[in-house]
Symmetry: C2
C-alpha cells in the first residue's frame, strides 16, 4: 500500500526485503482534507510524516498573530516539526495540509526503534539530515542577502512548480514578504 514510500526507501538505501517490511509496518496511512492541522500548536510533536500525495506545510506564528511558512513538503518529502519531534518538546508551530493529502506517518518511539532494527537506518537518516541541513543553509543565505524581488526571482527559478501550486499567500509567507508585495512583484516585471 505505501507505494511511494517503499519505492523511495529502496532507492535511497541498501536494504533487504525483510528490513524494508520492518520499516513499512511502522508507518500508518492517513488521508486528510485541505487545511487540516495534523500536528497542533503548543503540543509535543509525536510523528514524522511522509507525503504520498498532496502538500503540507509547517506554520510558525508571530506574537501579533501573523503566520509564516517555515517548511513545505510535497510528494516524496518527509516533514515534521523537527525541533519538537527531535527533543520531544512543546512547539508553537503546527503542521497543516495545504491540499487534500495522502500521508504515511510514524511515531517517535517507532522511529527511534528503527536504529536498532535496521542496520542501515542511521546512515539513511543521517544522509537525509545532511541534505535538509544543506537546504536550510541555502535558505538562510538567501534570506540574509536578498530583498523581496530577488527572493521571488530565485523561488520562481528553483521552485516553479511550487509557485504555480501554492496560493500566493503561502508563497509570500514562505519568502518572508507580504502577499501584497508578492502580488506586485509578480506583475511588475
Amino acid at each position: 500500500m505505501p507505494g511511494y514510500l517503499k519505492k523511495y526507501l529502496t532507492q535511497k538505501m541498501v536494504i533487504s526485503n525483510e528490513e524494508l517490511e520492518n520499516i513499512l509496518v511502522c508507518f500508518k496511512k492517513l488521508q486528510s482534507k485541505k487545511n487540516q492541522i495534523l500536528i497542533h500548536p503548543n503540543k509535543i510533536c509525536k510523528h514524522l510524516f511522509f507525503v504520498q500525495k498532496g502538500c503540507l506545510r509547517v506554520v510558525c506564528t508571530r506574537d501579533d498573530g501573523q503566520e509564516w511558512t517555515r517548511q513545505i513538503a510535497i510528494e516524496n518529502d518527509f516533514i515534521t516539526i523537527f525541533p519538537s519531534f527531535l527533543e520531544q518538546t512543546i512547539s508553537r508551530s503546527y503542521l497543516q495540509t495545504v491540499e487534500a493529502s495522502d500521508v504515511f506517518y510514524i511515531s517517535y518511539s517507532n522511529f527511534k526503534k528503527l536504529n536498532n532494527i535496521v542496520p542501515n537506518w542511521r546512515e539513511f537518516y543521517t544522509s537525509i539530515l545532511e541534505q535538509t541541513y544543506v537546504n536550510s543553509i541555502k535558505r538562510i543565505e538567501k534570506l540574509i542577502a536578498m530583498d523581496g524581488k530577488h527572493l521571488y526571482e530565485d523561488f520562481k527559478i528553483n521552485h516553479p512548480e511550487l509557485l504555480k501550486r501554492l496560493p500566493n499567500k503561502i508563497s509570500a509567507s514562505y519568502l518572508g514578504i507580504s502577499q501584497e508585495t508578492l502580488s506586485r512583484l509578480k506583475t511588475k516585471k
Copy 2:
C-alpha cells in the same frame, strides 16, 4: 595539546581512550591572525575546523560584492563551509577569522575514516548535525518573521556575548541588515 577538543569529545560521546587518541591524531593545530582566510572562495572545502580560542565566520558574497555572515563560531564550536565540505563541491563562500584564533582542523578524508575507526562516531556526528539543523531552523523562523528591530532584540537576548564581541558590521551582516540600521537600532531604544 588539543585540550578543549579532547574535553569536548569526552563530554559529548562514549569513547575509550584509544578511540579518543585515534580521533585526536587526525586533527592538526593552526594558529591564525585576525582576518585571515582559512578556506578560500571558489574552492572545494577540504577541512572541518574546531575553535579552541578565537572567532571564525562563514562569509557569503552577493553578486554586487556585498558580504554576509552565514555562520559564526567561537570556542568549542565546529565550523566549515558545510555544503562544500559535505559534497566536496566548489563554493563561493569562504571561512575567515574574526579574531586571532587557535583552531584544530581535520581533512575530509580523515573525517570520513572516523566512521570506520570509531564505532560511536556516526552517532556523535548525527547528534551534532541534529543540533545545528535545529539552530538553522530557528534562524530561518526569525529571518522570515522578524524585522530588523526584532532581529536585533532577539540577538541581544540570545547572544549578548557575541554582540559585545563582534564588530557592529559583522553582527549586522549576520542579521541581514545594514550596519547603519543596526547602529540606529542600538541607540534608538
